[in-house]
């Protein structure tokens, strides 16, 4: 087991090196120059351009800049934002809890609804429930997030007034962040109504971010269940006269869960991508919104650092999912 984990971690190293090259190259291949963007319509004299480029370290050759970047990385320095002049890691850590909070809620919602819906649809294959569920899942999967988010805001916040439009908590509450997770911080603050306000602000963004993973999980669960339900051991279990609940719960679901857990793990990447749009619509101060703005401002260090950190997180989550297999299915043991 330990050898397996170490082996997997060793795999991460070349991947990480690849990501640093891609992230470094990617932002520089994009057209646009951060120095000229700073000057805007006004323009900048060649002398001034050279001076600003020198101050920002862009006067050196690309390989030199890359080596310097890697050298700093090895020392734990992800660089400093060209715009805010703050360390990239500090900005990331300040914003990351907001994204994690939203992503956790979304994946929980997606799994809690998606798995039972998929199981039911498989058991009642061909029924109206199956057709409606899978039809809805297909619609959900193809939903343009930006449009969907705005639609929900207009309906639930604008017309019905049930949910707040955007943000993480009502602005009337003000307490310093402790954990960065608003649900926890609002409880810690002890202010009356703060937790309910934070929770109500989570509802719409959670639904929007959960939509695509929910659809994927429901469809995956259904097909995995159908496959397992046709297996010999399920037929045997039924023939033995076990109650249907036990056949499905004990024998079928447990085996069907393996591909479902893989799917849920892979959704972390989808969630990070979805967070970019969801955070922008709901003014959610997380890393998705931060990355979008940094790309449009050609804030090289932030884009490089952000991509790297997100990639590391996705890789670690996938590693954890691999390890989870063993727990779900004893046949799979990592040697």
């Amino acid at each position: 087991m330990i050898r397996f984990i170490l082996g997997r971690i060793a795999y991460l190293v070349p991947t990480l090196i690849g990501i640093t090259i891609v992230a470094f190259g990617f932002v520089r291949v994009l057209p646009g120059d951060p120095v000229l963007l700073m000057a805007g319509e006004r323009g900048m004299s060649p002398e001034r351009y050279a001076e600003v480029s020198r101050q920002l370290g862009f006067d050196r050759s690309l390989p030199e800049q890359y080596l310097d970047y890697v050298w700093r990385l090895l020392h734990g320095d992800l660089g400093t934002s060209l715009v805010t002049k703050k360390p990239v890691l500090a900005e990331f850590l300040a914003l990351f809890p907001a994204t994690v909070e939203l992503a956790l809620c979304a994946i929980l919602l997606a799994a809690l609804i998606g798995v039972p819906a998929g199981v039911l649809a498989a058991i009642k294959r061909g029924s109206w429930f199956d057709q409606i569920t899978m039809g809805t899942a297909l619609v959900g999967y193809s939903m343009p997030i930006f449009w969907w988010g705005l639609l929900l805001i207009i309906f639930f916040s604008g017309m019905l007034g049930w949910t707040p439009v955007s943000g993480r908590i009502s602005l009337l509450y003000f307490f310093p962040p402790v954990t960065g997770f608003m649900l926890i911080d609002s409880l810690l603050s002890g202010q009356k109504g703060a937790f309910a306000s934070a929770a109500s602000h989570l509802i719409l963004p959670t639904i929007v971010l959960a939509t695509i993973p929910l659809a994927v999980i429901a469809r995956q669960t259904r097909s995995a269940m159908l496959e397992v339900l046709g297996e010999d051991y399920v037929r045997t279990a039924r023939a033995k006269g076990l109650p249907p609940r036990r056949v499905v719960g004990m024998h079928a679901l447990r085996n069907a869960l393996i591909p479902v857990v893989t799917t849920i793990g892979l959704q972390i990447g989808v969630l990070m991508a979805g967070a970019i749009l969801t955070e922008t619509i709901f003014s959610w101060p997380g890393i998705g919104k931060w990355m979008v703005e940094s790309i449009s401002r050609r804030d090289y260090p932030v884009v490089q650092g952000g991509l790297l950190l997100i990639a590391v997180i996705v890789m670690v989550v996938n590693l954890l999912v691999d390890l989870l297999y063993g727990l779900i299915n004893p046949r799979i043991r990592h040697r």
């Binding site: 006004r42 001034r48 955007s166 309910a196 306000s197």
Partner: protein, 536 residues
């Protein structure tokens, strides 16, 4: 099916709990701002979003723009004197002005000349220990307003008197001092940060003399300010000022309508009708201090001939373009400066839309089968809601007089760069928003010979000696009546030579809750809230 029902019930329960559980608060004004500030040191940045969150609430300047105008009035300087030769500016500082007392700093003295000198020297002197208090800091406005080459010296005459000596007379200098980059910082605070080894806090925890004190900033989410009770001017009407950062215009609109904020900038043009129809909202509007234009490359044939440029201008139906693109929130431009600016020459006649005359003029100039490119910028700017649409309409109009126009576009940064490359193929759509209300800030920056050189912003590459000399003369005199005459003449030359097709001036719109009173729109596009009150 039980689960969804349970979920729905909880959603409603939570939502209603939140709606009724808001705590009692002091009088708070919530502004749905359009983006995050880059930092809180106004000298280090150039965007209006940053100024709205730093220089306007927290800081003051020696002189400031009078509310709702571009007129300069005394602020931290209670009076000033300009020598007859226009070379020395002597400012008498207001006594007893207090810097903010905050959780992180308690001042022991009032504003004095050291603060003023510190605020400018750190920007102009590369060897000043505060020039690079954060590595990579650039003082773009100080440089682009040519402060470095204008200012010969800054001296402290006594504790409350500062004297600026210039290298040559520069009439817009006073207006420059009213700009955000010229905000006055506390030297005492800077010294304290230096001692504590936390210099970078000058950019994250500002201390100024303004109507609001900085309280907290949660990145990309909320900025909080509190009323400065010791303010030297008229104190703010609200106790707390909160910026709710909301980047999407449609979401800002929803927040305003749902009562989650009191006032918002930059609504989408398509939403303005709906906003006006909303009984709970007031929609203020004002002509913007801006211009959108199409700049020909006057170095390249046949666009080097004024008669060709004028013929093309006549071929374009600008009224139709402005109606379609600005959707009632703009007006046709005939001069390179907007009508709200002093020295605007209303006597200038615009080229009338006349395709037949345009065709004849092109033929007379010996131009047939002309092909050209029109550059459409890829982004929305305050002066231009949709450049692509403008380019398409121009293309259609030009087609009617036998000119084949091709539309090109580039990524914004590339667009800015390539449009300034000499020998550029095609005419460029671009625009400008005024920085300080001085006509020089439009005419010299966009149309002078100096600006046609590498690194300038004269995208027509148009260099007319007579025009440039008038601007230079106007810069050297501080008599506004005389300057007005010179700028009026310059506008006549501009129209006669037609280096641009002037497109339009946009109208700035500011929707707000009916509860908000006392808001004054700034022609310079800034957003300040010290005069604003909000009904309970």
């Amino acid at each position: 099916m039980r689960l969804p029902a349970f979920v729905t019930t909880s959603i409603i329960a939570l939502a209603s709990a939140a709606a009724f559980a808001a705590p009692a608060a002091a009088k708070t004004l919530i502004y749905c701002s359009e983006g995050s500030p880059e930092g809180f040191d106004p000298a280090a940045y150039t965007s209006g979003t940053t100024f709205d969150a730093s220089s306007r609430p927290v800081f003051n300047r020696l002189v400031e723009f009078k509310d709702g105008t571009t007129e300069v009035e005394p602020a931290l300087a209670e009076s000033y004197e300009i020598s007859d030769d226009g070379l020395t500016y002597t400012f008498k500082l207001r006594p007893g002005v207090k810097f903010h007392t905050t959780d992180y700093f308690t001042p022991t003295r009032d504003l004095n000349a050291d603060d003023v000198i510190f605020s400018f020297e750190r920007q102009g002197d590369a060897n000043n220990p505060w020039n690079q208090y954060i590595p990579g800091l650039t003082f773009e406005y100080y440089n682009s307003m040519e402060m470095a080459s204008s200012i010969k010296s800054i001296e402290k005459v006594d504790d409350l008197t500062v004297r600026f000596t210039l290298n040559e007379p520069n009439a817009p200098f006073l207006a420059n001092l009213a700009m955000d980059f010229a905000s006055i910082q506390s030297k005492e605070y800077a010294d304290a940060l230096d001692q504590a080894g936390t210099k970078e806090n000058l950019n994250s925890a500002p201390v100024g003399t303004g109507p609001f004190k900085f309280v907290a900033y949660q990145k990309d989410a909320v900025i909080r300010f509190a009323k400065n009770a010791d303010y030297w001017g008229t104190p703010a009407k609200v106790d707390d000022l909160v910026f709710a950062i909301t980047t999407d215009a449609a979401v800002r609109l929803q927040k305003l309508q749902a009562g989650e904020c009191h006032i918002m900038p930059y609504p989408a043009p398509a939403d303005i009708e709906a906003l006006k129809a909303d009984q709970n909202l007031t929609v203020m509007e004002q002509p913007g201090l801006n211009v959108a234009y199409l700049a020909y490359n006057t170095d390249v044939a046949p666009f080097d001939k004024p008669e060709v440029r004028k013929a093309l201008n006549m071929a374009m139906n600008k009224q139709a373009i402005v109606d379609a693109v600005f959707q009632g929130m703009g007006q046709v431009a005939k001069n390179p400066i907007p009508p709200t600016m002093w020295s605007y020459n209303d006597a200038v006649q615009d080229e009338a839309y006349d395709p037949e005359a345009a065709k004849a003029a092109l033929e007379a100039a010996g131009v047939t089968n002309l092909s050209m490119k029109i550059w459409a910028m890829p982004v929305q700017r305050p002066y231009m809601p949709n450049a692509r649409r403008v380019a398409e309409m121009m293309q259609e109009d030009l087609g009617k007089v036998g000119v084949n126009a091709e539309i090109v576009s580039y990524e914004w940064g590339e667009y800015l760069k390539k449009s300034m490359e000499p020998g550029r193929d095609g005419a460029v759509i671009l625009g400008w928003t005024g920085d300080n209300g001085d006509p020089d800030n439009f005419l010299s920056v966009l149309l002078s010979c100096a600006a046609a050189e590498d690194g300038g912003a004269n995208r027509a590459f148009w260099c007319n000696e007579e025009f440039s000399n008038l601007l230079e003369q106007a810069k050297q005199t501080s008599d506004q009546a005389e300057r007005t005459k010179l700028y009026e003449q310059a506008q006549v030359i501009f129209k006669d030579q037609a280096p641009w097709a002037t497109i339009g001036h946009s109208t700035v719109v500011m929707p707000m809750s009916k509860k908000v009173t006392g808001y004054v729109m700034s022609p310079l596009g800034s957003h300040a809230f010290d005069t604003v009150d909000v009904a309970e």
